[in-house]
């Protein structure tokens, strides 16, 4: 009997039908309303007496007119058309879709944090400044760095911040450098950030073990190299075992090492970027520290640095005075603000609560269990979907559907789509680019053994379907709110709004 009675398999989720949900604009009835406002007693002077006529819009901007009941029904039904971590396992590689503790949401939503105006004088927001300074300290302890900025709103914002820090550091040394090295397995945000940082990308190929080719790296180094951006473990889920040699080689030419923290979950309490020789580290708090991802954001991408970069950090930063009070201080050579205010503060508060609950010991267990789960899954599926590099991996494993494709014409995408019918979110497909038919699974530490087994059985079931009826797999999924969508049509004829849809005679 299978043990796959899992908490993470969502195939029992009820679906009431296959009708499309109307848009809120289609539901709108002129004259209907839901809003209720405070009774203020403020004189109701006509707007045209307050604002010169030239500024007033002659037209009424049409929003939508619905009752509260219809509003609730509409967005509740939309929510039922959405997969989420709370519903089931989300093994989307590189995204660390672990369970988001409700407690962290609750503490952040306390009015003592979420009703504070960001422009309030520091004297009236001492709790926030202390919280931010405390989080900075703890993130530095996790990464082995000297100081951090909490302003970047997401990982990519952290990357660009880190590159601007590199630039400021080299400029301060009178050193104009042009190139950043990036492995061919890197996330796309890396090269995109490099361009915005004013640098050119040099791509470093991976070797036959899926790691940075040290000799080719050395050949690419030179006095014009500003630094290297590395993800470790890399996007294959493999640890860069020659990291100290890489660090020494880059430092030898005066370059800096940037740590892309997308995969930090794998190494919590095991090894710190600072100890590996990294100078700059960004963290994705919405991955490693379990803040909910909100369907595509908000995230938070704090950047921690080694001592020589501390003075360049964005500011102002919450700083503790000797008397125990907190003030905003701008680092002496600061590159300036990278966010309109203090960063995604509510995300930062959640991350601190998560760190406090776990403590140093708990964070270490997080990494251990994440790595254990990924290796169990890799090994469990070795006959069905072999790993691209079959050896001990870290928190995620990149499997390949090449043999299914060669034998039955079933591609990685088909497997990913069929998994949706089995009650699981898909893994990341076709990334990293250097693996053919890549399926990148990141189970995370919060999924049980029973859920992992259920996922493995689901993959095996799909593999059996590939043998029995491969054509049907090309049509998967059919049990989901919609079946495969016509992405080419969406791009060919852009309809980004209701108004565009009406013009195109929907």
């Amino acid at each position: 009997m299978s043990r796959a009675l899992s908490g993470g398999k969502a195939s029992s989720a009820p679906l009431l039908g296959h009708a499309t949900e109307p848009t809120i604009f289609e539901m709108s009835v002129p004259g209907r309303s839901a809003y209720q406002l405070r009774t203020t007693g403020v004189p109701a002077t006509a707007l045209k007496e307050l604002v010169p006529a030239m500024h007033l819009n002659p037209d009424v901007v049409d929003i939508a007119e619905v009752s509260e009941r219809d509003l609730v029904a509409h967005f509740t039904r939309l929510s039922h058309r959405q997969f989420s971590v709370d519903l089931g396992m989300y093994p989307l590689g590189s995204c660390t879709m672990k369970y988001n503790p409700k407690f962290c949401d609750a503490v952040a939503n306390d009015p003592g944090l979420n009703s504070v105006h960001p422009g309030a004088p520091a004297e009236l927001a001492q709790g926030w400044l202390e919280l931010l300074a405390t989080l900075e300290e703890k993130l530095c302890a996790v990464t082995g760095m000297a100081a951090a900025t909490l302003q970047p709103a997401a990982g990519a914002a952290g990357e660009l911040t880190g590159l601007l820090l590199m630039r400021a550091y080299h400029s301060a040394n009178g050193d104009a450098r042009q190139r950043i090295l990036i492995p061919d397995s890197a996330h796309g945000t890396n090269p995109a950030s490099v361009t915005l940082g004013g640098y050119a990308v040099t791509t470093i190929p991976s070797n036959e073990r899926g790691l940075v080719d040290l000799e080719k790296l050395k050949a690419a180094l030179g006095p014009d190299v500003a630094g290297i951006m590395l993800t470790n473990p890399n996007t294959l889920g493999l640890f860069e075992e020659e990291i100290t040699e890489i660090a020494a080689a880059v430092h030898d030419v005066g370059g800096l090492l940037y740590y892309d923290g997308a995969n930090l979950n794998a190494i919590l309490g095991v090894v710190r970027p600072g100890d590996m020789g990294f100078d700059i580290v960004h963290m994705n708090l919405h991955k490693t520290f379990a803040t909910p991802h909100g369907g595509g954001g908000p995230g938070a991408g704090p950047v921690a640095v080694s001592p020589r970069l501390v003075d360049f950090l964005p500011g102002p930063k919450a700083t503790r005075n000797d008397d125990g009070t907190y003030v905003w201080v701008k680092p002496p050579k600061s590159i300036g603000r990278v966010h309109g205010w203090h960063g995604n503060a509510m995300v930062l508060a959640r991350a601190l609560a998560y760190i406090d609950v776990h403590g140093g010991d708990g964070l270490t267990r997080v990494a251990q269990h994440a790595v254990l789960n990924a290796n169990w899954l890799r090994h469990r599926l070795r006959e069905t979907l072999p790993a691209a590099y079959d050896r001990v991996c870290m928190h995620e494993c990149v499997l390949t559907a090449t043999s299914l494709k060669n034998k039955y014409g079933v591609r990685g995408l088909d497997v990913a789509k069929a998994l949706l019918e089995e009650g699981f979110h898909s893994p990341t497909v076709y990334f990293p680019l250097i693996v053919e038919e890549a399926l990148m699974f990141e189970p995370t530490e919060t999924e049980s053994l029973q859920t992992l087994e259920a996922l493995a059985e689901a993959v095996e079931h799909i593999a059996q379907r590939a043998i029995d009826d491969p054509a049907a797999l090309h049509l998967a999924p059919q049990t989901t709110p919609v079946s495969r969508v016509d992405e080419a049509r969406a791009a060919r004829h852009l309809i980004p709004t209701e108004d565009a849809a009406r013009l195109s005679t929907r």
Partner: protein, 455 residues
């Protein structure tokens, strides 16, 4: 030992056994010992949730400026609007909160359709046809606008009104370190941009704010014609609530609209996560930063939504992408769609009007005080700046002891001699009134400010 890990010790042993391993340590044996952490992390031990909750009390109690206890007259782009229970409940649904980016549209129609509705609303409020699915905040949204203008014109010079929020300008200056953009700031005279003070030749963009950060409503005709005569794009940063009744960015001829979407259902939140609003003309579609959702059909010909024009994005275009944005602020965009659905056509007009009514009422009462003077003689909308007879920051602390957050000191937003204020910037106070403020609260404000300026 507090955590969220499911495995029992027996299961851990079983899993290790399956891998042919005897300990967790073997999973990490391939990491060079020289870099391994031997003593564990230098952090306190884990605590239970109730213990952490008690710890967080020290933060929440030290935040005196919570809007639940201190009446909020602070704005500067962040406003204390009504967020009803129904919006909090819907936006807090875990299907929206705990999903990732909608990479698998078959199981992400909820978020995708909500973004489509959000995009529709932003398009209407901006008067521009091509919105995106959100950016981090208004300041970083402006940077994306500048990058778009640079891409469209091949130029680097950005002519920016000093009426653009000082933080937005500062963020633009930070990122200009990488892009090489040259920022030229046009000063304000009596709260109005002096476009004649700058040379706009070869500009990529003319950037203005509406209302500007001091609350003033500027006639945008000159900014637009400056953009046209120099073949530059016109970027307008506009208050989306004001857009319920004032001319839209599109009506002023803007090529790009950026704005701060916080007023649509997001709490003050100490500055984030907020919502970067962005929309542009069709001519700039291929340079759009971030994601965009489009309508299409599924294989059974049912209406469906999907992220589209993906070929611009970083994961495909890599170093040639239009932007590096990946994670954005989707939950805030969904929240904005819900909040606007609640407000509806009439409600948005109502709150915009009430903000203007409250702000004008307070402004007129304050000018009756001897130590308070208007910074500008120009029309304003929902926010205004006054020059006090003393330091505005200390006046704010005095007012706080009477339970009022009296505004934002302009000197706290910008350093030194900002080109938006001609003199004595430390005495300038920025004040706003939202639809949540009652006449009694406003009258109380007047009384305590009168006291604070020593009248």
């Amino acid at each position: 030992m507090a955590d969220y890990l499911p495995h029992t010790p027996a299961e851990v042993d079983e899993m290790l056994d399956f891998l042919g391993m005897e300990s967790m340590e073997q999973l990490f044996a391939h990491i060079p010992p020289a870099v391994r952490l031997t003593q564990g992390l230098d952090l306190p031990e884990g605590m239970s949730e109730p213990d952490v909750a008690a710890l967080f009390m020290q933060y929440t109690s030290a935040n005196l400026a919570k809007a639940t206890e201190m009446t909020c007259f602070a704005g500067a782009g962040v406003y204390d609007h009504e967020v009803p229970a129904v919006v909090k409940m819907l936006a807090g649904r875990s299907e929206f909160v705990t999903a990732y980016t909608p990479y698998q549209p078959e199981v992400a129609q909820g978020v995708l359709q909500a973004i489509f509705e959000y995009q529709t609303l932003i398009s209407r409020l901006s008067g521009l046809p091509i919105p995106n699915a959100s950016l981090y905040d208004a300041a970083t949204g402006l940077v994306e606008g500048l990058n778009m203008a640079s891409g469209a014109t091949g130029r680097q010079k950005m002519v920016i009104s000093a009426g653009v929020h000082p933080h937005w300008r500062e963020v633009a200056a930070t990122f200009a370190r990488g892009t090489g953009h040259e920022l030229v700031i046009a000063t304000l005279v009596d709260g109005i941009t002096d476009w004649g003070s700058v040379d706009a030749t070869n500009a990529a963009a003319i950037v203005a704010a509406y209302p500007n950060y001091l609350g003033v409503l500027e006639d945008m005709t000159e900014a637009k014609s400056l953009a046209v005569s120099n073949d530059a794009l016109f970027i307008l940063g506009a208050d989306p609530v004001a857009a319920g009744v004032l001319k839209t960015a599109g009506q002023w001829g803007a090529d790009i609209f950026v704005g701060e979407g916080q007023p649509f259902g997001t709490p003050l939140a100490y500055g984030g996560p907020f919502l970067g609003l962005f929309a542009c003309t069709e001519a700039q579609t291929r340079r759009l930063p971030g994601r965009i959702v489009g309508e299409t059909v599924d294989s059974n010909d049912r209406r469906s939504f999907v992220t589209t024009l993906r070929a611009r994005e970083q994961d495909i275009r890599r170093e040639k992408a239009t932007s590096n944005v990946c994670t954005n602020q989707t939950l805030m965009a969904v929240t904005a769609a819900i909040q606007l659905g609640w407000l509806g056509t009439q409600g948005l007009r109502e709150i915009a009007t009430r903000c203007a009514q409250g702000a004008h009422y307070l402004f007129n009462e304050l000018l009756k005080i001897d130590g308070v003077h208007a910074l500008s003689s120009q029309p304003f909308f929902r926010e205004f700046a006054v020059r006090l007879n003393r330091d505005a920051s200390s006046v704010l602390l005095t007012m706080a002891s009477d339970g009022v957050l009296g505004g934002v000191a302009v000197s706290a937003l910008t350093s030194g001699d900002d080109p938006s204020v001609d003199a004595d910037i430390q005495n300038v106070l920025l004040v706003t009134v939202t639809e949540r403020r009652t006449k009694d609260e406003i009258d109380h404000y007047v009384e305590i400010l009168r006291k604070a300026v020593g009248e």
